[in-house]
Symmetry: C2
C-alpha cells in the first residue's frame, strides 16, 4: 500500500498535513494500512476521508497523568478524552497502587488492553510517598522490577522522594537503577546544586516547574520539562516563555491531575494547545509539544507523528484556534462505541476499618495551643498554624465560629484502628462533616468536621458504600459520591460522577463551607511530601522537618 | 560531589560551556566525579583545569562509520581520532563480518573494550550485500539476533537491500523485526512512494542523501538524515541547507568510510564541524549535529552532552573555527598512552585460495563485443560499456592502448577456485597488475591488469602476505601494503599504513595508472548493489537488472 500498488485501507485527502519533524503543513494525502500510516503522497484508497480546508495532525499524547484523578474507569475516561483528541497517555498508577498494590496495577493495565486509548504506565516509584503514610503495603524494588517487565510499563514514575535522591538514599538509588535513564522526576522548587544531584542520579524529566527560571535550569541540566496544566496546579502560562527562548525542544504537555468536571468543561491536552496558542505560541510549536515530544521523551517510537510506520492516530481539525477535532481516527479507525469493562469484586472491597464511634474522634486535652493545618487558597501547600481549641470535659473541641475544625485520617486498608487527629482552618464548615477515601497518596479516609458524631457517621457511611465522598449533617447523609473501585473510581458514567461530585460540593456549601474546591483540597491534606503541615493516620507531619510532630505545641 | 559537599575529582573552571540542550554558552564550571559529569555550577575540585577564554564542549560522536575503512586496528584508530575530539563512534562491522562472520564481529567487539574510545556496533544487516557476492558465510537472522544480545550492539546496521525492503521481501522484513525501530537505512536516490515503503518498514535513518531535496523527503518521512562526509562520497555542503531550513534537529554527522590518509590530513568528525561552520552554519548548530544528535538517534543516553549524569567526554577548544581540541577528556581523564591490542592468529589467516596460474585469467573468446565496466571519476557508480577485445589464440586479451584492462574477482574464503572475469576501462594501466583484498562487501580478491601472468602473480602474492594491496610488474612485486587482519586491517602504526598505501599508489602510477584513487575505486567494483555494471567471483552483475549477465554482449 505504501508503494501505491494496492488501494490503501483509508486515505485522508485534501487536507493540510502537519509534519512534526519539519513543522511544515504539507499538501498531501495520508494513506493508512492496517492501522498504521503507510505513506504521505498521492494515494487512492478503499475509503476516502475528505479533509479539504482542514488541518490533519497526529493525536495528542499526555506525557504524565494519573488516570485515577478522573474518578472514571478507563473505558469511560477513553470515551471522554478520545473525542477531545487525546489518543495516548502515560499514566502513573500510584493511587491504585497505594490501595491495591501491584495487583491493582496489573488489573488496571489489563483493563487498558480493552480500550482503544493507548495507555502506558510508569512504575510507581514512591508507594508510600513517605514512611508517615500507610498504604495497603509498600512497593519494594522487586515489585517495581516485576511491573517493569510488562510491555505497557515503560519506566519509573515520578521520583517524589527528591530529598532522598539528593541525599543519596541507597533505597531510592536502588529503584532508579531499575529503569536506567527512563525515570520521571518530581522536584518542586529544587534548584542549584540540589538539582544537579537530582539529575545526576539519572532523572531526566520534571513536571513540577512553576517558573521559567526553574524550567531553564532543568533544560540545562539535561532534563525534559513536562509543562503541566492540572486542575489545581496550572503552570502553562508561566512556562511558555521557555518555548520562545529555546523552541519547543525537550518540552512536552501533561495534565497530571484533572478532575472529571475540568475535562468535561475545558478539555484535555487539546485545552493546553488551545491556551498556548491563545497566549501567543505558534500552533506548530504547541502541536509538537502535544504530539511528538511526549513520545520522544517516553521512547514511544510509533506514536506522535504522521509518517510512514507511525500508528494512524489522526485528528482532523477545522481550525487552529479551538483544537476541537471533528474527526478522530485511532489506529486508522473512527472511535466507535467502547464496551463497558467488567469490574471484579476484589477491587471493590477496599475499605477495611474497625467500626468507629464518636469517642474515636475525641482528643484528650488539658488546654494550651495546638498545631493547626492552615489551607492556602488555590494551592496544595498548607501553613503550619497554632491556636488554642476550646476544652470540654477534658477534650479539645472544634470551634466553627473561629473556623477551627477537626480533621482525622482513619487507616482503612488493614483495619488497624489507627486514627490521626488534628485541627484544620480554612474550610469554614459551621456544622456536620465531610469525608473521602481520596486522600493522597495512601488514600486512607480523611474526614473534616465540626462535630465528632457526624465525623464518625461520615466514616461509617464511607465504609458502607465501599469508599467515595460523603457529606453528613446531624447524623444524616446529605450527599455522597460512591467510588467503589479502590475507593478512588466510580463505575458510573461521567454525567453521574459529575452530578455526584457537584451534589457533594453543594452539600458542603450548605454546611457553611466557603472553600472553592473543598474535596480536591481535602484530598491533599494527607500527602506528607507537600509542605508545611499535613496529617496521616500516624499523626501530624511537619513536612519541612520531615517528621511526625505532636498535636500540642508545647509537648516536648 | 554534585551537591558540592565533597571536592569533585576534576573541575573545569572558567570556560564557556556549551549546553547542547539550550544551545547556550554557559559561564560555569564542570564538576566531574568518577568519569561522569556531576554538575554544572560553581565547584571546587581535587584537580582543576583552567579553561578561561576557551570553549568547553562534549566529545564528538560519529553516527555511522566502518572501522575497517581506516585500515587500522581499533587501538591505532583510537590513537588517531581521540586527539581530534571523536570520543565515540557507531560502527557497522560488515567488512569483517563478510570475512570472519559473527566470530570476527565478536572479536572486534571484545577488542573495543580495551580502548578508551567508545565503540558501539550496529548488527550488519546485509552480509552478503547480495546473492551475487560470496562472503565466508552469510549472516542469517539467528546470527543477527545473537549479535544484538551484546550490550555494545545497539541496532541493525544500514539496510542496503533497499529494493528488497521496498518489495516486501520477507527475509529482509524478518531481519528488520529483530531490531524494532532502531535500524539504519541506506537508500541512495530512493524517493516518493518507494521511500514511503522503505520508511514504513521501520527504517528511520539514511546516510546516502546527496541532495537537500532527498534530505527534506526523508525528514518528512520521519527519518533522521545522517550527513556524510566520507573520503569518496562527500555530502556535507549539499545537505547544510537543511539546517538552515529546519534547524539541526534530526540531522547528525557521520564519516562512513574514511581512509587513514584522509583522517590524518583533514581530521575526523571535527573536520565536518569545521567545514560546516566555514560554510556558514552556526557553531552551535554544527556542534549539536556532532554531539547530542548522533546520541539521540542511537539512544546513547549518557553521551553527547555536558550535563549531570552524562559521561565526561569533554573537549577544550581554543576557538570555534578550527575545532582542534587542546585537551580531550575521555570519561573524565586525559587520553594517555593506549596499549597495543593483541591480534590472534586466527584472524590473520583468511586468504584461502587454490594456487592460480596464468591460464586462470584467460577468457576463451570467438570475437564480438564484451561488456566493459566503465569507471566514473570521483564516484563509485560505474557505466556499463561495450567494446570488442582483441582475440589471440582463441582468447580475449586486454588492450592497454585502448585502456581496456582485464578485471577478475577470485573467491578467497573457501578455496572454491571460483573466479569471475571481465573487462574494465578507466584505470589507464599500460602494463602489470594490481590486486587487493579490500573489495566490498565480500572482500574477495579483486585484480586488474594488462597482463594475465602479472595478474596471477599479484593474486599469489596477496595469498602469501595474507591479504592486502599489491602492485606487480613483469612478475615482480613493485609495492605492497600487507593487511594481515582479515585482509582488511594492518597491525602497523598509522604512519606505516599511510606510507604503504602511498607506495602502492606510486607504483600504480608507474604502471601508467591515471585514475586518482585507484585502490579506493577498485575496492567498489565488486560491490554488487551500486549501479551499473559490477563484477564478483560469480561473474558480471547488471545492478539495474539485478542479475548476473554474460561477458559477451550477444550471447543469449
Amino acid at each position: 500500500m505504501a508503494r501505491g500498488d494496492e488501494l490503501a485501507d483509508v486515505v485522508i485527502q485534501g487536507g493540510q498535513v502537519f509534519s512534526v519533524f519539519t513543522r511544515e503543513w504539507l499538501e498531501t494525502d495520508v494513506a493508512i494500512c492496517d492501522g498504521y500510516v503507510a505513506g504521505l503522497g498521492e494515494y487512492a484508497g478503499r475509503e476516502v476521508i475528505h479533509a479539504e480546508g482542514k488541518h490533519v495532525v497526529p493525536g495528542f499524547v499526555d506525557a504524565h497523568m494519573h488516570l485515577e484523578s478522573s474518578k472514571l474507569l478507563v473505558d469511560e475516561f477513553a470515551r471522554l478524552v478520545l473525542p477531545l483528541g487525546t489518543t495516548a497517555v502515560v499514566a502513573d498508577p500510584h493511587e491504585i497502587a497505594n490501595v491495591l498494590g501491584t495487583d491493582g496495577v496489573h488489573w488496571l493495565a489489563d483493563l487498558c488492553a480493552q480500550v482503544p486509548l493507548d495507555v502506558f504506565f510508569m512504575a510507581s516509584s514512591c508507594v508510600p510517598a513517605s514512611a508517615f503514610e500507610s498504604p495497603r503495603r509498600p512497593l519494594n524494588p522487586g515489585d517495581l522490577e516485576g511491573l517493569l517487565r510488562r510491555r505497557r510499563v515503560i519506566g519509573l514514575a515520578e521520583m517524589m522522594n527528591f530529598p532522598g535522591v539528593i541525599a543519596g538514599d541507597p533505597h531510592e538509588l536502588e529503584k532508579l537503577a531499575l529503569a536506567a535513564t527512563h525515570v520521571d522526576g518530581h522536584a518542586p522548587g529544587v534548584l542549584g546544586k540540589d538539582l544537579q544531584a537530582y539529575a545526576a542520579a539519572g532523572i531526566r524529566s520534571d513536571h513540577e516547574c512553576f517558573t521559567a527560571e526553574e524550567g531553564r535550569e532543568r533544560l540545562r541540566a539535561g532534563m525534559w520539562v513536562l509543562i503541566r496544566e492540572a486542575s489545581a496546579a496550572r503552570n502553562l502560562a508561566a512556562l511558555l516563555p521557555l518555548v520562545e527562548e529555546f523552541g519547543p525542544h525537550r518540552l512536552a504537555f501533561c495534565t497530571d491531575d484533572r478532575e472529571p468536571e475540568h475535562i468535561a468543561e475545558e478539555g484535555h491536552v487539546n485545552s493546553m494547545v488551545r491556551e498556548a496558542v491563545a497566549l501567543g505560541t505558534s500552533p506548530e510549536d504547541a502541536l509538537v509539544m502535544a504530539t511528538l515530544n511526549p513520545c520522544l521523551w517516553h521512547g514511544l517510537t510509533r506514536l506522535g507523528a504522521l509518517a510512514p510506520g507511525y500508528q494512524a492516530d489522526v485528528l482532523v481539525l477545522p481550525d487552529l484556534e479551538r483544537f476541537e477535532p471533528e474527526l478522530v481516527l485511532k489506529a486508522g479507525k473512527p472511535v466507535e462505541e467502547i464496551a463497558r469493562v467488567e469490574v471484579p469484586e476484589w477491587v471493590k472491597s477496599t475499605v477495611n476499618i474497625e467500626p468507629v464511634a464518636v469517642n474515636d474522634f475525641q482528643i484528650p486535652w488539658e488546654g494550651g495551643a495546638a498545631r493547626v493545618i492552615g489551607l492556602v487558597e488555590g494551592q496544595i501547600v498548607t501553613e503550619a498554624l497554632e491556636d488554642e481549641p476550646p476544652v470540654e470535659n477534658g477534650s479539645a473541641e472544634p470551634d466553627p465560629a473561629r473556623d477551627l475544625l477537626k480533621i482525622a485520617v482513619v487507616e482503612r486498608h488493614l483495619s488497624s484502628g489507627r486514627i490521626g487527629l488534628g485541627f484544620v482552618r480554612g474550610f469554614g464548615l459551621e456544622k456536620g462533616a465531610m469525608a473521602s477515601t481520596i486522600a493522597h497518596d495512601a488514600h486512607n479516609i480523611v474526614v473534616v468536621g465540626a462535630d465528632d458524631g457526624d465525623m464518625a457517621r461520615a466514616v461509617q457511611r464511607i465504609a458502607e458504600i465501599g469508599g467515595g465522598i460523603v457529606v453528613v449533617e446531624s447524623r444524616g447523609v446529605k450527599a455522597e459520591l460512591p467510588l467503589p473501585v479502590a475507593g478512588l473510581l466510580s463505575d458510573a458514567p461521567l454525567a453521574e460522577v459529575v452530578a455526584g461530585s457537584e451534589a457533594c460540593v453543594e452539600a458542603a456549601r450548605a454546611l457553611g463551607c466557603t472553600y472553592p474546591s473543598p474535596f480536591q483540597t481535602m484530598a491533599f491534606l494527607a500527602l506528607s511530601v507537600i509542605p508545611a503541615l499535613k496529617i496521616t493516620d500516624r499523626g501530624l507531619v511537619d513536612v519541612d522537618r520531615f517528621e511526625l510532630v505532636p498535636l500540642a505545641v508545647d509537648s516536648q
